[in-house]
């Protein structure tokens, strides 16, 4: 299937409130997003940030209070049937029928999407092979391991070759090996032209897997862009260069670099030049150049990449690891 020209997701002014124990909590407060077709997009944020609520609105499970959402070109509120035909969904709960076999689950899902019995059978065999579930196909899902079940659930989500696949916290509870395996499957899917929209509260998942990330907090997008550009924009790479230069030479080098456009900040400590770079490659070249032109040999150099947590910290004043109000957040996302 060729990638459709319409964006995978186009969201504007999205709002949703819940009443929990008498108080109104705005889980989503004006989210704006456009995800082009073919992208692997991540919604990163702490528990209760509104990620799951947003995903539920986009997958037609929950009506928004205000705003508009187009998914694969169809309006979530006005044409939910069209949206459902075009998307796949892998929820947090999974949703495989545990008493049924893997094959039964896949066949039923395929048929529900309108595949003929023969087509469903073919697609089922194909996915069982791709997700390495062949030998488990006729066993009850309740006997599967966590990783096996997750693979089946992703297979269920793409049984009908959707244009956009939504995944809610897809790797939560998986061990590192199964996690890496799932990432690989998702990358292959994206290469095949499927747009992928996932939520995660794992920094490394957003960072390594996603083309672009929206960092959300309190129902708002606080930063949006590719992981690299976000980190660059909010806090550049940190370069540390240790050389044999004397303090006087180091001061001279520091002064000469002060106006370099690739450098945001520079400090000298214990014979080491520390640079916060706007552009790591250029900044590195500038530092090396300044040292080399004075005939100073370099002893050690390192580049520390900022993390998305630095971005979150910068925007909210909290670390993503500590943020979130799990009890309240989950209650708000569960209630309705």
């Amino acid at each position: 299937m060729s990638a459709p020209p319409v964006p995978a997701v186009k969201v504007s002014g999205l709002r949703k409130s819940f009443r929990v124990a008498g108080t109104v909590i705005e889980a989503v407060s004006g989210i704006e997003l456009t995800v082009p077709a073919g992208e692997m997009f991540g919604l990163l944020g702490p528990n209760g940030a509104g990620k799951t609520t947003t995903l539920r609105i986009l997958t037609t499970l929950l009506p928004a209070d205000a705003g508009s959402a187009l998914v694969a070109g169809a309006d979530v509120l006005r044409a939910p049937a069209l949206v459902r035909q075009r998307i796949g969904y892998v929820g947090q709960l999974g949703g495989a029928d545990k008493e049924g076999t893997g094959r039964e689950n896949l066949m039923l899902t395929g048929r529900l999407y309108g595949l003929s019995a023969a087509d469903a059978k073919r697609r089922c065999a194909e996915l069982l092979a791709v997700f390495d579930l062949d030998t488990l196909a006729d066993r009850a899902v309740r006997t599967y391991s966590g990783g096996q079940r997750r693979r089946l659930e992703v297979a269920l989500g793409i049984m009908h070759r959707p244009q956009v696949l939504f995944l809610d916290e897809p790797t939560t509870g998986l061990d590192p090996q199964n996690r890496a395996n799932l990432w690989e499957q998702l990358r292959l899917l994206r290469e095949g032209g499927t747009s992928i929209f996932l939520t995660t509260h794992y920094l490394d998942e957003a960072d390594q897997l996603c083309d672009r990330v929206a960092i959300v907090d309190h129902g708002r997008v606080i930063a949006l862009g590719s992981p690299d550009s976000l980190k660059q924009r909010y806090s550049g790479d940190t370069i540390a260069v240790t050389s044999e230069a004397s303090p006087a030479v180091l001061d001279e080098v520091a002064r000469s670099l002060a106006d370099d456009p690739s450098i945001a900040a520079l400090a000298v400590e214990d014979g080491t030049i520390r640079v916060t770079a706007r552009d790591a490659t250029q900044a590195m070249a500038a530092v090396f150049g300044a040292l080399a032109s004075r005939g100073v040999p370099t002893r050690a150099a390192s580049v520390a990449r900022p993390s998305l947590d630095d971005v979150f910290l910068r925007e909210t004043g909290r670390s993503l690891r500590d943020a979130g109000t799990p009890a309240l957040g989950i209650a708000a996302e569960v209630a309705a």
Binding site: T59, T60, L61, L62, A81, R84, Q85, I87, G88, Y89, G91, Q92, L93, G94, G95, A96, D97, K98, E99, G100, E104, L108, T109, R111, L112, Y113, G114, L156, V334, A335, A336
Partner: protein, 258 residues
């Protein structure tokens, strides 16, 4: 792509098959589903024999009054159990996953309803066969209509239980509501003992209970009376309740949140 109605039929069939498998995987339910009604016949009917000839039981017709009562009880039980598995399905995300597919919500509900109708018809046939062997007078025309009427009642109960499961979301709450409603509903319908035995106030209360009309019609049909006002009212009331319950259940599926 299949046309709307064809797709709806296919989806209903798929959900029905799925629910039927769910039951077949639990042989315990099938066994108790079949033995309980037979036990009623074996253990309860003898108690009534001494009442034969009394005000509610014309001579020699104890089973004629009692068998349709048991049938209503089976229909009620077959339908009211629908909510429990639905709560498990909510908890495991199965329903959420179905709700993201284009499948019709009514088809989703009907899968359960049709399975429950089977769960009424099979033991119902057993009861008629066993009852017949012990002296229950089978009136064929009335019997067929009796099954149709009670299939409607099963549908009403099944859809109601499904909607309750989807709304309450918790086994404990569902159990409280269903068992709480069961006693007044069945007692005030005159299922086991005809309400005509009771005082006026009890009979007045019975008339508020929609199931009362189904029971009255069931007794008339079991006795072979087809063309009567009682039967007509029974069908009207039961069909209306079933329609309302199906509408409510479909709506509950549209809005279900887990």
């Amino acid at each position: 792509m299949t046309s709307g109605f064809g797709a709806f039929g296919v989806q209903t069939g798929l959900f029905f098959q799925r629910k039927l498998f769910e039951t077949l995987r639990q042989p315990v339910w099938i066994i108790t589903g079949l033995t309980t009604p037979v036990l009623y016949l074996a253990l309860f009917a003898p108690l009534l024999r001494s009442l034969a000839g009394g005000p509610a039981f014309p001579p020699g017709q104890v089973l004629d009054v009692f068998v349709p009562g048991i049938m209503v009880l089976i229909a009620f039980g077959a339908g009211m159990g629908a909510g429990w598995p639905i709560i498990w399905e909510l908890d495991s995300g199965v329903i959420e996953r179905f709700r993201v597919t284009p499948a019709s919500r009514l088809a989703l509900l009907l899968g359960t309803v049709l399975r429950d109708i089977v769960m009424f018809v099979v033991p119902g046939v057993v009861v008629v066969a066993v009852g017949g062997a012990f002296g229950y007078h089978v009136h064929w025309g009335g019997l067929v209509l009796l099954f149709v009427l009670l299939a409607l009642l099963t549908a009403a109960c099944s859809a109601t239980s499904s909607a309750l499961g989807l709304k309450l979301k918790q086994i404990g709450s569902l159990a409280a509501v269903v068992t709480g409603a069961q006693l007044p509903l069945t007692l005030l319908a005159g299922i086991l003992l005809p309400l005509s035995l009771g005082p006026t106030w009890l009979r007045v209360l019975g008339h508020i209970n929609p199931m009362y009309y189904a029971v009255q019609a069931a007794r008339a049909l079991a006795a072979g009376t087809v063309a009567s006002g009682t039967v007509g009212v029974g069908f009207l009331v039961t069909a209306a309740i079933a329609g309302l319950a199906l509408w409510w259940g479909t709506r509950a599926y549209q809005r279900a949140m887990a």
